[in-house]
Point group: C2
C-alpha cells in the first residue's frame, strides 16, 4: 500500500511516483487547489490536488481533519518561494494522481491547537499520541530501549525473564497483591523489583544478566511516579563495584552520545557524606553552582543562641548558602524563601546582604548583624568568597533540618534566579552510603535494601554497631534525578542473617520470607553486584520533559487510574466468589465518600 | 578478576596466563595430582594442581563440588593421549599457579547425576539451573529474544510498552484480578494479551508495533501452559494479511536459520476446512504422513447402519485412516486404540487389515467385512491407496466426533509406529477460520477474538447469518504446535458493534466494557492486522524439549505454584484490611481440605 513514509520524502525523490498512507493533519483550499498536510508516524508532507483531477479532486473535497487516506502521486520540488524550512519535507510536495479515503473521522473531541488539560489528554490518549510531540517521545523511548539492549547483548549480558507473579517482598507493605483462584485465600505479589531472582540467577552461574522489566509499587504517588514502572535491571558476578559502575556509565554515556549527540564525559564520584554536606541531597544537581558551606566553627562563640546553640550541639548544624547577586532580593522574596524553608522544619531564615564587600562589617546589611561581630562576619564572608551584591542565607538547627532545608532552598534558588544551567548535563555517582537509616521511632531501615553488602565489617561487628556501617552501594545521578542505583550484594549467609537481625527480622520470619535465599547462599554463591536504572526517568531526561506520563504510552494518573479504559473498576460477584473474597464495609464507605 | 570464560579456552590460548572464575563441577585425585573440572556459564575446563605448588595445592585440597573459586594459571596443550573429544575445551588444560576459594558450598541437597523429580528441581531451581543442559536452554532463549528484537527493530517495528495493570478483558473469566488500595473495592486485571492497546497504538499512527511481553491467564493449567507466559506481540497498519504473514514467516525462518542452522523453506498455507478434514486438527503436524480420508460417499448405501447412518446425515462423517504396515497390529493394540478414540466420544473403531491387496475383497480381514461388499471394499482400498500389510481404521459418527477422534488417533499412531519424522521440521499457515464457533448450548463464541475482521461481509449480513462468516485470521503451526496466531482487525465501529451484538453483548455492556474502543474507532482508524507468537513455545521447539518449564528460568507448577519461593502465600491481615477485602469461608474450607 505504501512505498514511502510521508516524513521521509525529500529532493532525492523528485520525479518518483509514490504511494502514501496516513492522516489529514490539515486541509487548506487555496486558489482552487486543495492542499493536504498528510501525516504518518515519520512526519508530514504536503499533498496538492488539482481541480483538473476529476474524481481525485472530488474525493479530496470530502477530506476533513484526521480522515485516514492513501494517495498515489508524483513528488515534485517546490518553487524556491514556497519552500517551507519549518518542515522536514518542506522542499517537496506530492501531486496527487490517486486518492482513496480509507476511513472517515468524526470531528476531534479535543482541539490540539488549544490548551488541553492532562485529564482530557489521558482520556483520549489514542488521539493525544497522534501529536508529533508525543509520538516523537514514544519513538525516542523505543530507540533508547533498543540501544540499551544492543549494548548489553554486545557486552555478554543475558536477557533472562523473571516472574511477575511472585512472593511478597520485604518492602511488602507496598506490594500489589494478586489473589489466587487455585489456592483460595492465598496471594501472589507483583514484584517491586526482580532483586532476589537476579541474585539467584548469579548463584546459578549466569554471570551477567539484564532485563528491561516492569515493576510495581502500590504507594501514594508523586508527580514523577507511576504504579507500574520500567527498570533496566542488571546483575553481574565476579565484578567489583568499580567495574559495574564502569560498564553502566559507559552504557549511559554511549546512549547520550548516540541519541542526543551529547558527550557526558567521565562521571565524577562523590561520597554520600559530601553530597549531603555540600548540596543537602543524595542526588545533587551539579548544574546548580550554589553550595552549602558550614560555619559552625565560626559562630560557636557568638552570643546569638540561634547560631551558637546548634553550633555547639553534636547533632546540630550551622551552614550558609551564598547567592551571587542575591543582595537584590526584596524583603517579600526573602519572606517567601523563609516560608519555603519552613516546610522543611526550619524556624527562620537569617540573611546577610553584602552591599560593599570592601567595607567588611560595615558593608553588610542583616537583621542578625547586631548579634555578630566584625571578625565573625569577615570569616563568613571570606569562607564563602562573598562579593559585593551577594546575599548569604543561614540555616541553624538540627543537622537533618538544616541539610534538608538548605538542600531544597539551593535547588529553588538555582531555578528562580536562573543560576542553574538547564541546558547542561551533570552526571555523577554518589557512593559510600550508610548501611542503615534510623526512623523517628529509632528503628533501623536498610538505606538501599537488605541484600546490600556492608563495607569492611564482619557479621559480628555489624550487629554490635550497625549505625557505623557503610554499604557498598552507588547511585547514578543526572541533573538532580536519581536515574539508577545499585550495590555489591551480600554473598554469604551469615552476613545476610546479621543484616536481617539488625533490621529486627527474627529467625522464624527470616525462614518464612527468605528461607530460599538463605538456603541458596550456602552453595558456593559467587560475589555479585548490580544496578537498576529507571527507564521512564532516563527517557524523561532524554526527551527533555519533566512529566513522566509523557514518556509512557498509556500512563496512569497520580491516583493510579487509567482515564481511557476506566481501570480499576468493579469486579463482578462471580469472579469474587471464585476467588473466595468479599469486599468489606470499608470499601463501601470509601465508595460513598468519593 | 577473569580474563576468559572456562568454556572459551582452546589451543589458541596455549602458553597464555589466564584467570578464571567459576565452580568445581567435579574433583578427581589421580597420581598425586588434583584435577578440577571447573565450570562457568560458557562451559568446563580441566584445571590441574601439582602437589609441588604448596599453598595452591593446600587450597585445592579443600575443594569440594560446587565450591566457588578463582584460579590463575597457564593454558597448556594436553598430550595427544589425554585429549577429551567429548569436551569443547578437551584439547587443553590449565595448570594452576594461584587459587582462591571464594565461597564454600554445603553438600548438594540433590544429586544431579541421579534421577530427580521435577518437584525437587523446581524447589532447588537455582541449583537445577547450574546444569549445562538447563543453562544452555536459558542462554538459547536469550539469543532467540535478542534475535527477534533485532529483526523487528531492523524492520521498522517500534517497541512500545503497554500496561500490566489494565481493565478486565472480554475473556474476563480467566483474568487475574489485582485489588486497588487507592480505589478500594475496585480491581485491575492483568492482561491476557495487549490486544486492545496495540490496536489503539495503530489508531494513534505508530504503524508497526512490537513488544515481547508477559501475559497472564488464570485457567486450569495443562502441561504446556503457564499462568504467566511471554508473547511476541506484533501489530501493523496498512498491511494485508499476506504481508503480515510474509514478514512474520521471514522472522521465524531467519531465526531457525540463525540459531539452528535449519532452513524451514517457504511455509505452505492450508485452509482451516482442509486441515480439519485431512488431519482432524487446526494445528496439524505435517511430519506425520497419515491422513484422514472421507469415504461417506462409498458407504452410503451399505446395509451396515453404523456406516450408512452418518454417511447419509448432513452432520455425520465417515472417514478412514490408512496405516502403512498396520496389519501387524495385535488384537490387544487395536483394543487400546479403540479405547483411545473412546476418550473423544467414538463408540468403536472398525478396522480392516489388508493381508493381500491383489486379492481384493478376499485379501482383507475385518470384523465388518460381512456388512460390506467387494465393490465398496475395492473403492476404499483404491481411494486410500492401500498396500498389502496396511490397516484401515474407520470413524463413523457425528462429524465433530469423527474429526476429533481420528485427528487424535492420527497423532498417536504417528508417534507409536514411528511414522512421524521427529527430526524434521514442518511449518505451515492455517487460514480462513470460521468467525464463530457454537458451544453445546448453542451460544456463539469468537473463534479467535471479537476484534477479528470477518471476510467479505457487511455488518448487516454478519448479524443475519453469523455462522457462515469466515474470519481473516491465520495461525502459524510448527510440528503440530500453534506457535502464533493473528488476524486482520475490525477497523470500523459498525462492524465491531455487529460482532459484539452477535456475541450477545448488548449495547450497554459494549459501552461499559469497550466504550473507549468504539469511540477510538470513529477517528479515522487505519486498516490494521497483527499476530502474536508464544515465545515460550518457540523456545521449546528451538531447544528440542517438550516441557515448557524447561525454557523458563523460574516457572510455576501446573497448579500455578512456585515451589522455590512458596508463592502464592497467605497475606497478612493488615494488607487485606488496607485493600478492604476479607477472605470468605469458601477459602477456609479449601484450605482444610487440601
Amino acid at each position: 500500500m505504501r512505498t514511502q513514509y510521508c516524513g521521509h520524502l525529500n529532493k532525492a525523490h523528485v520525479g518518483q511516483e509514490v504511494s502514501l498512507c496516513g492522516w489529514v493533519n490539515r486541509r487548506r483550499d487555496l486558489g482552487g487547489l486543495i492542499f493536504i498536510d498528510m501525516r504518518d508516524r515519520e512526519g508530514l508532507v504536503q499533498v496538492v490536488i488539482d481541480p483538473d483531477m476529476g474524481d481525485v479532486y472530488e474525493q479530496a473535497n470530502k477530506l476533513r481533519n484526521e480522515f485516514c487516506l492513501t494517495i498515489r502521486g508524483e513528488v515534485r520540488a517546490r518553487p524556491e518561494s514556497q519552500i517551507n524550512s519549518d518542515m522536514a519535507t518542506g522542499e517537496v510536495e506530492v501531486v496527487a494522481k490517486g486518492l482513496e479515503i480509507i476511513n472517515r473521522s468524526a470531528p476531534m473531541p479535543i482541539d490540539f491547537n488549544q490548551f488541553i488539560s492532562e485529564e482530557q489528554r489521558l482520556k483520549y490518549r489514542y488521539l493525544d499520541l497522534r501529536r508529533p510531540e508525543m509520538s516523537d517521545r514514544i519513538k525516542l523511548r523505543a530507540k533508547a530501549t533498543s540501544f540499551v539492549r544492543r549494548f548489553l547483548d554486545d557486552n555478554d549480558f543475558l536477557d533472562i525473564e523473571t516472574p511477575v507473579l511472585t512472593k511478597a517482598t520485604p518492602e511488602g507493605a507496598r506490594d500489589y497483591l494478586v489473589p489466587s483462584r487455585v489456592h483460595k485465600g492465598n496471594f501472589y505479589a507483583l514484584p517491586q523489583s526482580p532483586q532476589l531472582f537476579k541474585q539467584l540467577l548469579m548463584m546459578s552461574g549466569f554471570d551477567r544478566y539484564y532485563q528491561i522489566v516492569k515493576c510495581f509499587r502500590d504507594e501514594d504517588l508523586r508527580a514523577d511516579r507511576q504504579p507500574e514502572f520500567t527498570q533496566i535491571d542488571i546483575e553481574t558476578s565476579f565484578m567489583s563495584a568499580d567495574q559495574v559502575r564502569e560498564v553502566t556509565e559507559q552504557l549511559i554515556r554511549d546512549m547520550w552520545q548516540s541519541l542526543l549527540n551529547v558527550d557526558l564525559g567521565a562521571f565524577p564520584t562523590m561520597k554520600y557524606e559530601e553530597a549531603m554536606r555540600r548540596f543537602g541531597s543524595d542526588k545533587p544537581d551539579l548544574r546548580n553552582p550554589l553550595e552549602i558551606v558550614d560555619v559552625a566553627d565560626i559562630v560557636k562563640d557568638v552570643e546569638f543562641k540561634v547560631f551558637s546553640g546548634p553550633a555547639n550541639d553534636e547533632k546540630g548544624r550551622v551552614a550558609v548558602i551564598r547567592v551571587p547577586g542575591g543582595a537584590s532580593l526584596s524583603r517579600k522574596q526573602i519572606d517567601e524563601y523563609t516560608h519555603f524553608v519552613g516546610i522543611y522544619g526550619a524556624k527562620g531564615l537569617a540573611w546577610m546582604k553584602v552591599n560593599d564587600r570592601d567595607a567588611g562589617f560595615d558593608g553588610i546589611q542583616s537583621p542578625v548583624a547586631k548579634f555578630l561581630n566584625a571578625e565573625v562576619v569577615e570569616s563568613i564572608l571570606s569562607r564563602t568568597e562573598a562579593q559585593t551584591g551577594d546575599i548569604i542565607l543561614f540555616g541553624a538547627d538540627k543537622k537533618s533540618v538544616v541539610t534538608e532545608a538548605l538542600g531544597a532552598l539551593r535547588v529553588k534558588l538555582g531555578l528562580d534566579l536562573e543560576l542553574t544551567d538547564t541546558q547542561a548535563w551533570a552526571p555523577l555517582w554518589v557512593i559510600d552510603f550508610p548501611m542503615f537509616e534510623e526512623d523517628d521511632e529509632g528503628n533501623l531501615h536498610a538505606m538501599h535494601h537488605p541484600f546490600t553488602a556492608p563495607t569492611d565489617v564482619t557479621p559480628e561487628e555489624l550487629v554490635v554497631n550497625p549505625a557505623a556501617a557503610n554499604s557498598n552501594a552507588y547511585d547514578m545521578v543526572i541533573n538532580g534525578y536519581e536515574v539508577g542505583g545499585g550495590s555489591v550484594r551480600i554473598h554469604n549467609p551469615e552476613m545476610q542473617a546479621a543484616v536481617f537481625e539488625t533490621l529486627g527480622i527474627d529467625e522464624q520470619e527470616q525462614r518464612k520470607k527468605f528461607g530460599f535465599l538463605l538456603d541458596a547462599l550456602q552453595y558456593g554463591t559467587p560475589p555479585h553486584a548490580g544496578l537498576a536504572f529507571g527507564m521512564d526517568r532516563l527517557v524523561m531526561l532524554l526527551s527533555g520533559t519533566e512529566n513522566i506520563r509523557d514518556v509512557i504510552a498509556f500512563p496512569k494518573t497520580t491516583a493510579a487510574a487509567c482515564l481511557m479504559t476506566d481501570a480499576p473498576s468493579l469486579a463482578n460477584d462471580a469472579a469474587l466468589e471464585e476467588l473466595a473474597l468479599s469486599i468489606t464495609a470499608a470499601a463501601e464507605q470509601n465508595e460513598h465518600s468519593e
